[in-house]
Amino acid sequence: MRLITLGEEGGKIKLISRDTENDGIIPYGSYITVEDYDKKFILRVENSQQINYFNVSPMLADMDLKPLLVDQKVRNIVSAIRIMEIPQREDGLNSYIKPMLFARRSNQEEINYIMNNQRGVPIFSATIYAYTTQVFKDENKNPIIVHIPEKFFFYQTLITGATGSGKTAAMKYFAQYFIEKLETYDGPGAVLAINVKEDDLLYMDKPSRTNRKEIIDEWKAIGEEPHGINSFRIYYPGNNVPTSKKIDRNKAISITIKTNKLNPENLSGIIQNLPEKGAEQIIDIFRYWQVKVMGRDGNGDKMSDFIDYFIDPNKERVYNALTENGNTFQYTLHPSTYYSLKNAFITASKFFDVDNAVELEAKDILERRKMSVIDLSQKNAIGFGAILLRDILDKIYEEKNKGESNSDVPILIIIDEVHEFYGNSKTYEALKTLDAIARKGRSLGIGVIFASQNLEDIPSGISKIVNTKIFFKGYSQKDVHKIINDDALAPGYAISKIYGLSFVNLIKFPLPLGGLYEK
């Protein structure tokens, strides 16, 4: 199709379809190239609608009369924002986009030019019109690929979207790229992912399966074929052996935490609805137990010993507490806090100090080309998982900071359902390690992807530290001022604000190459 520039209105270039090349409506998000002799302008479609050439009276239909063909003609009127001028001027000015210039859909070469990057994670540029999302195609029907610059991984990412929106598939796609293709920081890197739902991330070692031609075509377009990740491990807490038939049991390893080595700070996530004060209190109470009680006077050093200590009725909910600074206080726990903690500890205790289970160390994770998945999908594992996650993040951060053996391996940490682990983390204190990782991610080669179903679930502290946001369908209940109707997003399509790719705002992920069986 061809468009003709009309002028500028409200900061946007207005165009109309050319009468003789008026095949259809160009959707939102499309890129168009305006040509003016030796110059080109790349624009992005912001608004697109059909208009009638001439009004037709409904009286015709009322009287069962047919309209003339000419009266049924429609045109496409478009407003688009200017992205870039090619070649760019060197005098600090921008060229005019004159009226009556022809425009067409941009091609891959032009998109590559404006993106200034042909390396990175390949995804598709996408468009939307009404309830139809499509991969953006050039005039020759070739899909347009954009590359997310690899550095985005290290500026932290937020992914939200409802079940079935393509959120998990996108995480898998990123994970596999990181493990197999990453070049930054002398990649490839390692991935640590937290699996919280079914067997979502548990068979990444298997090639994806689909019968859909469009998916296979998309893989071809990015030069890929389905394949699994070679180096793959599942870590499950205690005796919670994953039961999915899709997984390779030989790759699953039982893990635990030794209570005597547990950093009290990591207990902050054990209950997500615990008030901030309650979280602080339990840390100090546990610290006191670990320093002053554990292993002394016949007391053991297991979680069960702490629980016995904690639930001792003689204490009447009054506990000695040791702060990080070494000060000793006495706390009286509110009854509701007490009962919540008691239940949470009893639930989590079966995963601590498990015989024949290993303690997960940073070196297990920081292995190039390896994907490690901690499986918390089974019953009652979330509380323990919150502690484990803090523990392993601490270890990774320390290892990276120390600059020892594996510390140069770039790592991507994927935390799905992040609110399950950091739901009460509103303060810097609670997010201390995450915040440090986020800030130092660039220099240490650590990237974090936070995912959740709803934007509202994301702890505010986390929203502030991410530089890339990817919103799949149903990302927010509250945002009524959505520019794009996200209800119309098909699976795999997302609204994006990607670090280093600022003017791409609608994308489509290819299906991951590994770990996804389509029904």
Partner: protein, 337 residues
């Protein structure tokens, strides 16, 4: 139709006249520029003979046949309308016309729009310094004469042969009549059937001659006796003093509760094409429904011509021309140079 394509015709004199006015420092009233509007054509109010050609008070029209006729006919349909802005100045008045001829074939409306610009003055001093400024004792007549002449040139030159043209305004009325009759005769030579269309008139030829005392005007008569989708029988009228001022006309009521319109053709047209008039009226009725504007009933192609004329005038943007001239407008007057 291959020979016809959209055109905007700007006569060479247009820019030359602007330059002359600039050089002569004519003092325009920038706030007095009118919005684009239609020219007021005077309908005939004279004395003459009325004959009843079709002795039927109401005849049903068939828009479906009109549609089929447009789709399948060998005739091309076209419409003409104009738009006007006037620009007052201390030294006289400028009139800019956009004359729009829109030609319909099965796929497209093809607009051919011609702009004309005239400046009229009573100042002989101004005339001596100019080749294009026009001297006139009676601006209100002269600008209409110039308009008619330009219109005729455009239509005669560009309207395709073997076609039907719908022209907004009466066939006979005031000083325009002679130009209409010339136009009509030229078009007939090209096998073009001109039909003139009149909305809103106080004409009372029928009432005075046939229904005296019953109605106030012919439009009231037609409004009362016609139902939606009907026309009156044909009437013949000849002017008592000018035997060439002859027309055959009918009233057509396109919508309920809306004043009818009058369709008129010259006697020569009638003689050549009387067997086709019913088809043409059906076409016009279809085009009226297709337009569907009860506030301003007119055949769609004429409405489109009016839109083109108005839009072109808006695009000309006289304010801009004055502004671009580089002179700063004073409170009321600005120089066109």
């Amino acid at each position: 139709m291959g020979d016809y394509y959209s055109q905007l015709i700007l006569p060479e004199d247009f820019n030359k006249l602007i330059a002359e006015l600039q050089n002569l420092n004519v003092n325009f009233d920038s706030k007095g520029i009118t919005f684009p509007s239609r020219i007021e054509s005077s309908d005939y109010q004279g004395i003459g003979k009325i004959k009843v050609i079709e002795d039927m008070s109401a005849i049903d029209l068939n828009p479906m046949l009109g549609y089929e006729y447009i789709k399948n006919s060998n005739y091309i349909i076209s419409g003409y309308d104009e738009s006007l802005i006037s620009i007052p100045a201390l030294e006289g008045t400028g009139y800019i016309f956009a004359h729009a001829l829109v030609i319909l074939n099965s796929e497209k409306y093809i607009p051919i729009v011609k702009l004309s610009f005239n400046f009229y003055t009573k100042s002989k001093i101004l005339i001596e310094k100019s080749n294009l400024i026009k001297y006139t004792e009676n601006q209100s007549i002269q600008y209409k004469i110039d308009y008619m002449m330009t219109r005729n040139e455009l239509i005669i030159k560009y309207n395709p042969s073997n076609s039907i043209i719908l022209i907004d305004g009466p066939l006979i009325g005031g000083q325009e009549s002679i130009y209409n009759i010339v136009l009509n005769s030229e078009l007939l030579k090209k096998k073009v059937i001109p039909v003139f269309i009149v909305k809103n008139s106080y004409s009372s030829l029928l009432v005075d001659n046939l229904y005296e005392g019953k109605y106030n005007s012919d439009f009231e008569f037609a409004f009362k006796i016609l139902k939606k989708g009907q026309r009156t029988g044909l009437y013949y009228y000849q002017d008592e003093y000018n035997s060439n001022n002859v027309k055959i006309f009918t009233y057509l009521k396109p919508y309920d509760n809306v004043s009818p319109i009058r369709l008129e053709v010259h006697e020569d047209t009638y003689k050549s094409y009387k067997d086709q008039l019913n088809k043409i009226f059906n076409i016009i009725y279809y085009l009226l429904i297709s337009q569907g504007d009860v506030k301003n009933p007119q055949p769609k192609i004429v409405a489109i011509a009016e839109d083109y004329a108005r839009e072109v005038l808006k695009a000309v943007n006289m304010d801009n021309i004055i502004f671009k001239s580089g002179l700063i407008p004073t409170i009321n007057y600005t120089r066109f140079g």
